[in-house]
Structure formats: C-alpha cells, structure tokens
Symmetry: C2
Subunit: 329 residues, 2 copies
Amino acid sequence: MKKQPTEFAVIKALNKNRDGYISGEELAAASSISRAAVWKHINNLREKGYDIEAVSRLGYRLVSSPDILIPGEIIPILKTKSLGKRIIHRESVDSTNALAKSLAEEGEREGTVVIAEEQSRGKGRLGRNWSSPVGGIWLSVILRPKILPLEASRFTLLAAVAVAKAIERLGVMPEIKWPNDILVNGKKVCGILLELSAQADKIDYLVIGFGINANFGLGRIPKEARDRATTLSEALGEKIDRRRLVADLLFELESGYRHLTGGGWKDILKDWKKRCAMLHKSISLSTLHGVVEGEFVGVDDFGAIRIKLPDGGIKNFAAGDVTVKKRLT
Amino acid sequence: MKKQPTEFAVIKALNKNRDGYISGEELAAASSISRAAVWKHINNLREKGYDIEAVSRLGYRLVSSPDILIPGEIIPILKTKSLGKRIIHRESVDSTNALAKSLAEEGEREGTVVIAEEQSRGKGRLGRNWSSPVGGIWLSVILRPKILPLEASRFTLLAAVAVAKAIERLGVMPEIKWPNDILVNGKKVCGILLELSAQADKIDYLVIGFGINANFGLGRIPKEARDRATTLSEALGEKIDRRRLVADLLFELESGYRHLTGGGWKDILKDWKKRCAMLHKSISLSTLHGVVEGEFVGVDDFGAIRIKLPDGGIKNFAAGDVTVKKRLT
C-alpha cells in the first residue's frame, strides 16, 4: 500500500511525457525518489504490462499502458472530492466486498475503493455466486453514512442510478431492474451487492459492491446465465475504456451520495424510476415465501417494491426476484 | 474449545456425587476419558476455583464450586432447545460482542453464546464505553434470523423483554427504558447492544450483547454514572445466582425469538409496553439533531419511539436518549 503514491507519481510523469523521453533524473525528481527506486518502479510497471522504452542518454518513454485498474491509472482522471482517492488494487481476490468489509472492520475510512482484475469467489445477491473473469470491473466502495440501518436500502437504489448514469455516457441506455440489476438490451450487465454492519440505531459501515460485465466475451458467462446476461463490449461491439467507466461511476456515486444525505432522496427515486422499464408492467415476484403476481406500481421510501395485487390491494415487498409476465396474445 | 464436553462431564459427575466420593475410575468412566486425563481435569478445575477434596481409596468430592459462568456450570441447568448449547467462556475479553462478531464472520452457528467474567473494552450504545468488572454478566448471543435488516430493531425490544423477565424471577420488578435499558429502582442494571451484519435484503447475523450489573459493589461503577446505575446485588441486598440468571435469560430469549419469528411481534410489543414505565409520560428525547420534547405515546412496528409533539402531531424517532421531564410543582 505504502508505495502507491510513488508508483502513481511515476506513471503520472511517464504519461505527461509520452511525446518524448524523460530522464531517470527527472523521473526521480518528479516522484521524489532515488534513481535506484525509479529503476525498481520501472521494472515493476513492466511486469504489470506497461511497455516502457529505455534509451541510454535520453531516458524513458511510455509506449503503451496495460488495461489495468491500478490507482495510478484511475486517480489522475477522477473528478470526485474524496471517493476513490484511496484505491486498493488486486490482480485477483476472493471477493472485493469481502476484502472491503474486512478493511472496514479494521477502521478503513469512508471513500476507500477496492478493485480487482478478477474475483475467485464473487458474491451476488441472495447468496448467489457471481462469475468475475478478467476484463470485468469488480469494485467495492466503503461508505460510513450517518443513517439508520433501515435507510441503507436507499443506497441500493442510489448505486443502481449511479452505475446506470455512468454506462449512459458510453452511448447506451441501460434499464434498471428492481432492485438494482442493470440491463442493456434486456440482459444483465451489472449487479450490485450492498452489505452493511450496524448497531440497532447506527450504521457502522456500508460496502457497495459493483460487478460490471465490461470487456469479455459471452463465452466467459456461465452457460445457464447466457440468455439473461451480456457484457458491455458485446452490447457495444467494441471494448470500453474501463478506467473511464470506473472514474465516471465513482463520480456519479459521490454526487448521488451527497444529494441523498442532503435530503435528496425523492430525486434519487425519480432518477431510479425513470430508468426502471418494468414499472407499471404486470410482473411476478418470486420471494422466499412464494410467488406474487400483480402490477408493479412503485417503490416505497425504503426501496421496497409496491405491487398492486389482483384483488386491488397494494402490498410492499423488500426482497425477491422480478420477472415481467409475457402477454398471452 | 475441544475439551469443553469432557470438562462438562467431569463437573457433572462431581456435582452428582456431592454427598459422597467418586473414585477416579468411576469419574474416568463417567467422562469417557483416561484416569490420567481425570487427574489433569481435576487440576484444571482446582485452578479455576473448584474446591475438590481427594481422599485415597475413596476418591474425589466436590466441596464447593466457584462463581464462574463456564459451560459445565450453565449447560446442565439450561432449559433451552438450542440457544446456549455451545458456550464460549473467557476469563477476560475486550468485548464479548466483538468476539461473537468475529466468530459469526467465520461461520459460527446460530445459538452460540460468548460469556466473559470481565471485559476490558465493553461497548455500549452510541459508541459509549461500558464498565464491565468481575461479578457482572457479560454475554453475547449469535442469531441468524431469516428477516430483513429493518426488522432487526424488533430484536432490541425482544432482548429487553427477555432480560426483564429473567430478572423478575429474582423477585424484583424491573422497568424498561426505551429502547432497551433495564432499570431497577429507577437505576440501570442492564444495557443491551445489538449489532448486525446484513445485505440489503437479508440478515447475515445478529449479535445481541447483554451487560448485566450483577454481583459487584457500587464502587466498581464509574463515578459519573453512580446516580443513574446500580447492581442487582445492591438492589436486592444479596448476591444473586449468576448461573441461574444466565440460564433464565437464555430461556426467555429463545422463547421470545421463537414467538417473534412465528408472527408474535404484537405480543412482544405488549410485553415490552407493560414494562415500560415512561410510556404516556412527558419526556425529552435527545437525538443527534437536537432535543425533542413531548408525550411518549408508543412504539412503532420497527421499535421507533412515537412522540406527541406540543403541536399535537406525532413523530417517530429511531434513535436517541429518553429522560422523563420533572414536573415543576
């Protein structure tokens, strides 16, 4: 962790001088390290996939950067005030949410982000597995909002809006499926898993995990999920800039968070509803206690789905899986 | 942990034969261990404060047991179906809640109880410290109810009712102060701290911590709290049987838990209200956002306090400290 700022500085200096060469001496000065340390960093970066040319008497030149989500690549393009100013990056991790939670238990501050290139045991909602190959974006955020535990579910809707807005910048219009799946062309490209630790009347921390199917082929999606899931690169026909998407997501999340804690819940809910294609449709909701059918009429103040039952009554459900009913015409 | 069942068996056999002597051979057979192991256990128990007489050719006799809350002393008198069938006992621990939480994170099953003779860093509500000297009951329970996070606050009221009922068996009538302090003669004898880990729509685990001022002098209560707190032994004029109180508490908690998950929330709430002396009084509630004054008219379905404000409106508050307003007569 300690060498993050230096690595960050080296990458920044190399990026700044892509048109020419930067000498080892200049690089050492720009990064406030010794020339020996520069040499070590250059080697480390090369191992990570950076193509760095070294010409004697001229210095170093960055030829190309690998597609990895290290702090040195993301922090320079971040537009947030504090979210993501500390990024913990791993090549592989069991689950970014699990790592974020254990860091939060140890006191990690609000705004820290955990990113992995792949997860070996990615988690989904309701205890499900989440396939997380290289090329996706597996990212968890630690927040410590001053809210009651029952208000936490608002953050699942907020998170869905944030990732939808970030994806919109790619030129596609994603849909939200209650509570927080993101679909493109009717297929899932992103899932969100919110976990929390709390006392009865006080949140200790929230961890919001995003699993975004960014740049990988459909072959990496488990067979049984292929009819319901896709990836952004498949949907768009080209690879996306993962760094940009991460930066945009963190920006949207921070803006929404500030708005929510500033009393803007109604606006978040409006943003959410605008993107929810299933609203006002006939749906069936599969819950732990059975299947409910009716019209999806809205979402309550704590994120629960409101369903108008066949008898005309309206009931709220906090958990379950929604499917739109096919018309028999 | 592994030797709990054997120690438990040795204590049980010694207790059963208090009127006479039990030979090492019989003790070994009753505990399914070797005679060498019997000898080791006898020594361990003596170190824990058990007075065990050994007479050659007659065997062992239990003269007296120390006042400690080890599994071997509690499990034989438990009337629960599963709660407390596994007890983890420590002479001293930073916080029983913290230990229970870390065990729950590692997958410890529902119903396990953590008890310590003293806590070095006992925790109270709202981040406060909780003085926890030897002689008190510092106990945390791990539960994994199939509920939504927002229903967790019902367990704080349930826990208050359970401990109040257990204390009633000592022949005193405790009062409940919202949400879950237990008072005797208007002074606090027990605090409850509920912590939880959850996803947006599913509880992972609850840890309910009880801090009961049982058998210690007022001198062990921090000076600044002495006008508001007391101990059961002070209030009753004699030491209480801590083992019995623990067994009764676990029994009441399990009964209430079964009732609550079986749809009995209204009964729990009725039990809670019956014991709440502040209900219908003029109170002031100190919250994070300031002080509210009004009449305490009830508790909502999620444990929030309902206050009738001077303008006649009723407002719910999920967190805060209640004090009864003194009449200026």
